[in-house]
Every structure is written in structure tokens, then in C-alpha cells.
């Protein structure tokens, strides 16, 4: 089933639906060979670049990929190292739950350019939502909960987390992540750029 719910009922699938394509082939005699192929594939990285692959944004706002003479519709782009290497080692996968990897973009700005790079970037922006906190207006603690009112690069917002949880974590010396009760994530790219007062408000909850 697709990574969501309310999808197609059984028997009403159409090509391009969010179903791994290899599942549509009748499973059967070739299985062992297929497994061996799969185990061989596990040891190989297919590097995608402007010479062998072309990304295009389709009319629905999702991403299509032509690679090795095949067109993959609605592919997903997944960051392998979302924090440390956001533009490198991007895994391009078929759509669906147990989607297979088509290939890897080792370095997006180096290996792609123009509309292709744009389309991939747009897809990444859609998939990864991580507002960066620019300013902390107010922090209020009440009955085991901490309420933040902040300005992010995507606008002002309010969120809350439990005061006794590990909601605020340091992922490097200066970079801090906050996860709220709804599982939204916020980033503070450089905690040293906040004012002393703001840092102090945050410091209490920092693990």
C-alpha cells in the first residue's frame, strides 16, 4: 500500500499507481534467479548523473526519471544523510512502501544542473520540511509542558513539548534540533547566533 491511506481498493490498480512494479509481475519460476539478482544488486551502487539519467517534474508536481531506457514515474528522492550531507548521496527510489532503489545521486550540484537539478531540489523541499528557528519570542512552562513561540524561515509558529523529554538535542557543537509533541522538527542551525537571553531559555531543555 502507498505511504498513506485511503488508496485504491484491491483489483483497481492502474499503472503508475503507488505499488512497487515488480509485484505486478506474476511471481513464479524465476524467483530464485530474481533473488540472486537482488543480492547482486545489494552490492552495487548505480550512480545517476546528467549523462545517464534525466529528471523531469510531471504535471502533478511529482518527479519522473528516465534511466537506462526506462521511465520511472513518481519516484522518491531520499537523503541518506539528511543532517550531515543534505545534497549528497541521494537515494532515488521507486514509489511505494517497499520501493526498490533505482540509483544514487552522489552529489547533486556536481552531477546535475538546469531543470533536472531544479526538479530534484523541488522534490526534496517537498519531502523534507525542517523550519529553522530565527528568533525565540517567548518560552512558557506550564504543567509539565514547554510552549515555544518562534519565528522560523517559513513564518511564525508555536509548538510545545514535554519539559521532561529529550525534545531538544544537539547534533553538533552549535546545531540543535527540537522535536515537538506532534513530531514536527525544528532546527537551530547555529545556536551561537541567538541572543544570550534566547540561548538561556533553550539551554534548560538541551540534552
Amino acid at each position: 500500500m502507498a505511504p498513506g491511506m485511503g488508496g485504491s481498493p484491491p483489483g483497481r490498480r492502474r499503472p503508475g499507481d503507488f505499488v512497487p512494479q515488480r509485484n505486478e509481475e506474476p511471481a513464479g519460476e524465476l524467483d530464485l534467479e530474481k533473488l540472486e539478482q537482488q543480492s547482486r544488486d545489494m552490492m552495487e551502487l548505480h550512480m545517476l548523473n546528467r549523462d545517464n539519467a534525466e529528471f523531469r517534474e510531471n504535471s502533478g508536481g511529482f518527479l519522473d526519471l528516465s534511466y537506462n531506457g526506462r521511465v520511472y514515474e513518481d519516484v522518491q528522492v531520499v537523503r541518506m544523510f539528511p543532517f550531515s550531507r543534505p545534497d549528497e548521496y541521494l537515494s532515488v527510489r521507486e514509489s511505494g512502501d517497499q520501493a526498490a532503489e533505482i540509483g544514487v545521486i552522489e552529489n547533486l550540484p556536481r552531477d546535475f544542473d538546469g531543470p533536472g537539478e531544479e526538479a530534484v531540489r523541488h522534490q526534496l523541499a517537498l519531502r523534507y520540511f525542517l523550519p529553522a528557528i530565527r528568533k525565540i519570542y517567548n518560552v512558557r512552562q506550564e504543567m509539565g509542558c514547554v510552549y515555544f513561540d518562534v519565528e522560523t524561515d517559513y513564518g511564525r509558529c508555536q509548538f510545545a513539548f514535554r519539559s521532561n523529554s529529550n525534545a531538544v538535542t544537539r547534533i553538533s557543537e552549535s546545531r540543535v534540533m527540537i522535536q515537538d509533541l506532534d513530531n514536527n522538527c525544528f532546527e537551530i542551525p547555529d545556536i551561537r547566533k541567538l541572543t544570550a537571553g534566547e540561548q538561556k531559555k533553550l539551554d534548560v531543555y538541551l540534552t
Binding site: 500500500m1 502507498a2 505511504p3 498513506g4 491511506m5 485511503g6 488508496g7 485504491s8 481498493p9 484491491p10 503508475g16 503507488f18 505499488v19 509485484n23 506474476p26 511471481a27 513464479g28 519460476e29 524467483d31 530464485l32 533473488l35 510531471n58 504535471s59 502533478g60 508536481g61 511529482f62 513518481d74 539528511p82 512502501d97 517497499q98 523541499a125 517537498l126 519531502r127 523534507y128 520540511f129 525542517l130 523550519p131 506550564e142 504543567m143 509539565g144 509542558c145 522560523t152 517559513y154 513564518g155 511564525r156 509558529c157 510545545a160 514535554r162 519539559s163 509533541l181 506532534d182 513530531n183 514536527n184 522538527c185 539551554d203 534548560v204 531543555y205 538541551l206 540534552t207
Partner: protein, 727 residues
């Protein structure tokens, strides 16, 4: 959870519908570029879907023939839609705040698009109070909005059964403070009557010493009695709370418990009840006594001379002001220290439990360095905290006590002028001391008060949870024959991540069903539903025609036998473990059950037979032996429905065969659901159900499915070829 937000008249007018037409109305909070937006909704009516932004309609789509999906991305989600013969497109984006709502909306809209006029309802609670915006922890009612008196009401409910004891305790305390108030009066009479004008003789001094001695003994007795009594009261109330919490936790649904860290729940039972005990013992008893003494002392001083009373307390407000202002600062000091402590401990635990890994990779030096850094940080926090506290509290105490100087100065002048006797001045100074001591203590009272307040909140957080979010809370006890019907069952542990989609299956009594499919497709989830551990999100699960939600939980579990892959055995003897579900089983029944599970022989070989004690998680037994005991435990219950989740995976083929034969005999009377990756285990199943992509893909007997050459056929040939390769 609310799936139908109220729109304003203007918004309704712009869409051109009335509130009654709305099936679902859910807000979204991100624009296409990810900027936070407000007042934007997705509205679903019986036939159409609208996307509004700033009360204007942006999109209008006819639902019929569409497909609607809620897709979970990283820290956000999107609603995707595909019109007939079109492509998937993004309708709106939203943060995780609205993800759950949209997953319900997508399911509801999809049903409407297929022409099923059923309404999806969410049983989940709102995470945030819709009125005041405060976070709700698994409760339906906002403890803030339901009234400020809520906490005192809870405290009252907590103490009500002990009201007599409280009255007695307060009387004891009152007597204690009265006896300490008499002291200065006696002193004054002694000084002014016997010492100052040298009128008294030895008898007066002796008499005074005796009275003082008597008063002191009375004082000690009273204070010991009230201390002991408040300790008893605090411990009793805490024990009562612990018992209630533990009972409540046992009755709560698994989903509630799994949502929380085990440590958190343990803390609530052990630490929070303890903080109530501490409060009752320390804060309550001392504070009440001190407060009463203080009040009485002030009254007494006022009677003697109100101006002096004023002198004594004039600096107290300043001291209190400083203390309350410092409260937040002190709280943060403690919080930082707690965090450093947590970090240190969890690192320690982490490394110690993984010490073999550390050693095999030769990382001792690095780990030691990291630990040293953390330890330094901890030390710094402790020093910082203690330095601050050591400066702050004496300062506050000093400020409050400054009234003494005023008192000595004005009182001294009055004594010199002959307006006041030295004895009265002495008495006043002693009373002033009586005021300061409690005042200093009261300065720490708010902290203790807020601590117990939070603890009570946290405990009631559990006690207040309504049990209805778990299945089988009913009272019906239907005669079960083993008939099981799944009808349009949808389920996900998180409502936005479906694990089972539209499961329809009817099982006859006595049938053996083999569940087949890749890992993570929902086989175990299906049997979890059957055991009544979770409630289905939508659709119905019927046992002999009765909705599983209406069946009495204890009754149901008495009819279902379960053997899971991960066999959990309790600390105790083998006999106790086998008879866990039915402690009243006879020895013969226990032995028969063990024989059926092929466990009898190995148990007999043990020195202590059935009385062998098995330690933590049955540690001393092998995997196969544990599994056999678990099977015996399930069989003993004479279940109507038997669930085997990889129940024989740890056994050799021979034992598996023997157990299967024994189970076959048992299965004549009960419906069996078996999960196994080793497909040969399921060859005797009446029907095999293949679960694929969270849906039932194939149903039929082994022969039928082999002919069908579908997924099952693929799995079987793959396993056969694999074993051919191995041999």
C-alpha cells in the same frame, strides 16, 4: 478527534454550501512552498472536495472516481489526489500537527469517491485543548479549562478517605504549637517576677526549671506523635495511589502503554507517589505546624504591642519577593543538574551493557574520554547549583530576619526608658524567632508545592484516561464456538500509517487458518486485533456474531490461547508458568498440557521437575524449551481460538511434528490461526490467507493456491529451491 471544523458564515458563503453539507473539514497549515498559513481548509461534502485559502475557494473537485491519499513525508505530509485517468497531484501540504486528521479525511473521501456513504470517525483524543491551546496528555478533558480548583479538588478526593486522620493530625499539631507558645510566656514571668527585682528564691527557680522541663517533654512527645502520624498518613496515601495506578495501567490498552517509555510509566508509579508521600511527611506536617506557630506568635505579639509585631515582619515581604523571583532561577538550576545527571547515567548504562562491543572494537580509551567529559560537566553543574543555593538562601533568611535589629533597637530604648520590662523584650524576641524560622521554611514551600502538584497531575494523567480506546470493554459473554468474521477492517498503530486495509475474512469454527506473507505486512497485527489488544480503526471484527468491542475482556482472554514468537516466561516455577492463566488447574491437567506440548519429557529430566524455578525471562531454558512451555500454557486453557505466531520456529522438525499432531487433536474443537515463515508448518491448514501490501491478496487451500500460481506459489517454490540449494 474533530474532523469537522466549524467554518465562518463568510467562508461557507464563498464555498456556496451550508455547514450541514460538510462531511469533513480539516485545516492545513503549510502553503505549497512550506510557509505557515492560517484559515485554510480542505472541505469534503458528499460529492465534492474543496480547497480553501483565506476564505476563498482555490480548488473544487468532483469526488466520484477519484483516488485520495494522505502521504507521510519527513516532518510534513501532503494530500494527494488523482482524478479519473489523470496523474497524482498534490492538493495541500500540512505539518505533522494535522497529519492524523488528514489521514482520516483521505480515508473518508476515498470511501465517498467509491460511492460508499459511510462516515469515518476518529476515536483519538485531541492532542491540544481546543479552547485554551494547552497540551492534553491522553485525557479528554483539559485539566486547566475544567476549572482552576481542579488540583485542589483532586487533592481533596485523594485525602477524603483519610479525613478523620487529618483532623486528628491537625489537632496534634495545634497542641504542639500551643505548647511551644507557652514557653516564652513562662520565661517572661520568671525573668520579670523572680530575676529582675531579685525577689525570687531557690523554690521559684526550681519551680521554673520543672515547668520548663515539663513543657519541653510535652513538646517533644507532641512533635514525635504528629511526625509519626503524618509519616503513616503519607505512606498510606502513597500506597493507595500506587495500587490504583498499577491496577489502572494493567487495564489500559496496549497502544497507550506502548506510546510511553517504560521508564516514564515506572517513574509515575514509583517516583510520583513518593513525592506525594514526601510532601505529606515533610512539607505538610512541618509547614502546617510552623504556619500555625507563626500565626499564633504574630497574634500574641500584636496583643502585647502591635508596633513590635510590625517591626518583626516588616522585612519579610522583601525576603519573599526575592525568594519567589529566585524560584524560577533555582528551578532551572535543578533542571540543568537533572539533565547532566540523566546524561551521565544513561551513558554509563549504555556503555556497561554494551561492554563486550566496546572491548571487541578496542574503544575503551575513547569511551573513557567521553565519560570523563560528561562527568566534568556534571561536576560543574553541581558546583554551580550549590554555590548559587548557598548564597541565595542564607541571603533570603538574612533579609527576613533583619526585623530583629529594629526590634532590639526600639525594644532596648523602651526598656531603658522603663516603659517595658526586660522579660517582655525577651518574650518578644523569642516570638520573633518563632516567626522567622517558619518563614525561612515557607520560602521553600512553593517548590515543594509545585513538585507535588506536578506529580499529582502526572498520576491523574493515567488515572483519568478513559479505557474506551481499547477493545473488549463490553460486558457480553457469548458462547464462543470459534466463528470469526473480519468485515472491512482497517487498522494502524498510528492512524496515519495503515497496517491493515479493508480486511474481509470469515472463518468457520474449528478451521485452521495459516497466515502467510512477507515480514511487516500485518500478520501479527491481525492476530493482535483478534486478541482484543487493539481496537479496529474502522470496520467490524465479530466473534460468533458479537462485536469484539462488546465482549468482556477477561472472558475473551479465557477463550483465546496464544503462543507468540517471543515467549515471555515469568520468574517462578515451570508449574506456575504453565498454569498462569488458570492457577486453579489440577496437577493432572498441567501434566497433560505439558505432554501435548511435548514438554513433559524434558521437564521430567530436570532435577526439580515441574517445580524447577526459571529465572529472568526463563533464562536458563533453551529457546525450544521455552516455546514448549508457552504452548503448554496456551493448551491448558482449552481455548476456543488458538493463536500460534511462529510458535514452533525454535523447534527441530521432529518436535514440531509431534506438537503439530498433538495440536491437531486439540484443533478439532478450536479455531486456529497460525503464522509461520516455514511454510511446511502450515501444510495442514484448511485455508491459507496470503497478506500482501497490508491487504488480503489470496485465500485458499495449499492446492488451490499452488494452481493459482500467485504470490503463495512464488513463496513455496522459492523456499523449495532454497532448501534444494542448501542440501
Amino acid at each position: 478527534m474533530n474532523l469537522k471544523f466549524q467554518l465562518t458564515e463568510e467562508q461557507l458563503h464563498n464555498i456556496g454550501i451550508s455547514q450541514e453539507d460538510i462531511w469533513y473539514c480539516v485545516p492545513y497549515d503549510l502553503s505549497e512552498k512550506g510557509v505557515f498559513v492560517r484559515d485554510s481548509y480542505v472541505v469534503v461534502t458528499a460529492e465534492e472536495l474543496f480547497v480553501t485559502a483565506d476564505s476563498r475557494v482555490r480548488r473544487r473537485i468532483k469526488l466520484a472516481g477519484c483516488q485520495v491519499q494522505c502521504r507521510t513525508l519527513v516532518n510534513n505530509g501532503l494530500l494527494a489526489l488523482r482524478q479519473e485517468s489523470g496523474r497524482w497531484e498534490t492538493l495541500v501540504r500540512f505539518s505533522m500537527k494535522h497529519l492524523v486528521r488528514f489521514s482520516y479525511l483521505a480515508r473518508g473521501a476515498q470511501m465517498l469517491a467509491e460511492g460508499r456513504m459511510e462516515k469515518v470517525e476518529s476515536l483519538e483524543y485531541e492532542p491540544v485543548c481546543p479552547v485554551c491551546g494547552r497540551v492534553l496528555f491522553g485525557t479528554r478533558e483539559c485539566s486547566y479549562c475544567s476549572g482552576h480548583g481542579r488540583f485542589s479538588y483532586r487533592l481533596w478526593v485523594l485525602c477524603r478517605p483519610y479525613i478523620k486522620s487529618f483532623v486528628l493530625l491537625i489537632l496534634l499539631m495545634l497542641a504542639g504549637s500551643l505548647s511551644s507558645l507557652i514557653d516564652p510566656k513562662v520565661q517572661q514571668q520568671f525573668i520579670d517576677g523572680a530575676l529582675v527585682n531579685r525577689s525570687g528564691g531557690t523554690p521559684q527557680i526550681l519551680w521554673f526549671v520543672l515547668v520548663m522541663l515539663g513543657l519541653t517533654i510535652l513538646n517533644i512527645l507532641l512533635s514525635v506523635a504528629s511526625k509519626w502520624y503524618s509519616t503513616w498518613l503519607g505512606s498510606t496515601i502513597a500506597a493507595d495511589l500506587r495500587r490504583r495506578l498499577f491496577y489502572k495501567l494493567q487495564t489500559l490498552s496496549l497502544s497507550y502503554i506502548e506510546d510511553r517509555k517504560p521508564g516514564e510509566l515506572m517513574n509515575r508509579i514509583s517516583q510520583d507517589t513518593n513525592s506525594v508521600r514526601r510532601f505529606m511527611e515533610m512539607a505538610f506536617s512541618t509547614s502546617v505546624t510552623q504556619f500555625m506557630t507563626m500565626a499564633a506568635a504574630i497574634v500574641y505579639m500584636c496583643i502585647i504591642n502591635w508596633k513590635f509585631a510590625l517591626c518583626a515582619v516588616v522585612f519579610a515581604p522583601i525576603g519573599f519577593f526575592v525568594a519567589t523571583r529566585a524560584m524560577e532561577f533555582v528551578g532551572n538550576l535543578f533542571r540543568r543538574w537533572f539533565r547532566a545527571n540523566d546524561r551521565l547515567n544513561s551513558r554509563l548504562q549504555d556503555v556497561l551493557s554494551g561492554i563486550s562491543v566496546v572491548k571487541t572494537y578496542g574503544r575503551e580509551k575513547q569511551e573513557a574520554d567521553i565519560f570523563a567529559d560528561m562527568s566534568d560537566d556534571y561536576t560543574k553543574q553541581v558546583i554551580h547549583r550549590d554555590t548559587c543555593l548557598d548564597i541565595l538562601f542564607p541571603t533570603v533568611v538574612y533579609i527576613i530576619g533583619m526585623g530583629t535589629y529594629l526590634l532590639v533597637y526600639t525594644g532596648g530604648i523602651q526598656v531603658l526608658n522603663g516603659v517595658m520590662t526586660p522579660g517582655v523584650l525577651m518574650q518578644l524576641l523569642t516570638y520573633a524567632g518563632m516567626i522567622y524560622r517558619p518563614l525561612q521554611q515557607l520560602a521553600s514551600f512553593p517548590r515543594q508545592w509545585s513538585e507535588v502538584r506536578i506529580s499529582v497531575e502526572r498520576m491523574y494523567d493515567i488515572l483519568d484516561v478513559e479505557n474506551e480506546d481499547s477493545a473488549c470493554r463490553g460486558t457480553e459473554k457469548p458462547e464462543l464456538t470459534g466463528q470469526v468474521d473480519f468485515s472491512h477492517v482497517y487498522f494502524g498503530y498510528k492512524s496515519y500509517e495503515p497496517v491493515l486495509n479493508n480486511v474481509n475474512l470469515s472463518v468457520k469454527p474449528g478451521e485452521m487458518i495459516g497466515l502467510v506473507g512477507a515480514s511487516g505486512t500485518g500478520k501479527t497485527t491481525l492476530i493482535n486485533l483478534l486478541m482484543g489488544l487493539y481496537k479496529v480503526d474502522s470496520g467490524k471484527l465479530l466473534l460468533d456474531g458479537t462485536d469484539i468491542n462488546d465482549i468482556d475482556g477477561e472472558y475473551l482472554h479465557g477463550q483465546v490461547g496464544v503462543v507468540l514468537q517471543e515467549t515471555f516466561l515469568f520468574n517462578g516455577t515451570i508449574r506456575e508458568n504453565i498454569s498462569f492463566a488458570r492457577p486453579d488447574a489440577t496437577l493432572e491437567e498441567i501434566v497433560m498440557a505439558a505432554r501435548m506440548a511435548n514438554a513433559h519429557d524434558f521437564i521430567c529430566r530436570l532435577q526439580n521437575g515441574y517445580d524447577t524455578y526459571i529465572g529472568d525471562r526463563g533464562y536458563t531454558l533453551s529457546g525450544g524449551e521455552r516455546q514448549r512451555i508457552a504452548i503448554a500454557r496456551a493448551v491448558l486453557n482449552k481455548p476456543r481460538i488458538l493463536i500460534l505466531d511462529e510458535a514452533t520456529s525454535n523447534l527441530d522438525t521432529e518436535s514440531e511434528f509431534l506438537i503439530q499432531k498433538a495440536l491437531e487433536r486439540l484443533q478439532k474443537n478450536c479455531t486456529t490461526f497460525a503464522i509461520a515463515h516455514r511454510l511446511s508448518t502450515l501444510r495442514d491448514a484448511d485455508r491459507l490467507v496470503v497478506i500482501h501490501d497490508h491487504e488480503i491478496a489470496e485465500v485458499g487451500s495449499h492446492e488451490e493456491l499452488m494452481k493459482q500460481k500467485g504470490i503463495y506459489y512464488g513463496l513455496v517454490t522459492a523456499q523449495l529451491e532454497m532448501s534444494a540449494v542448501e542440501t
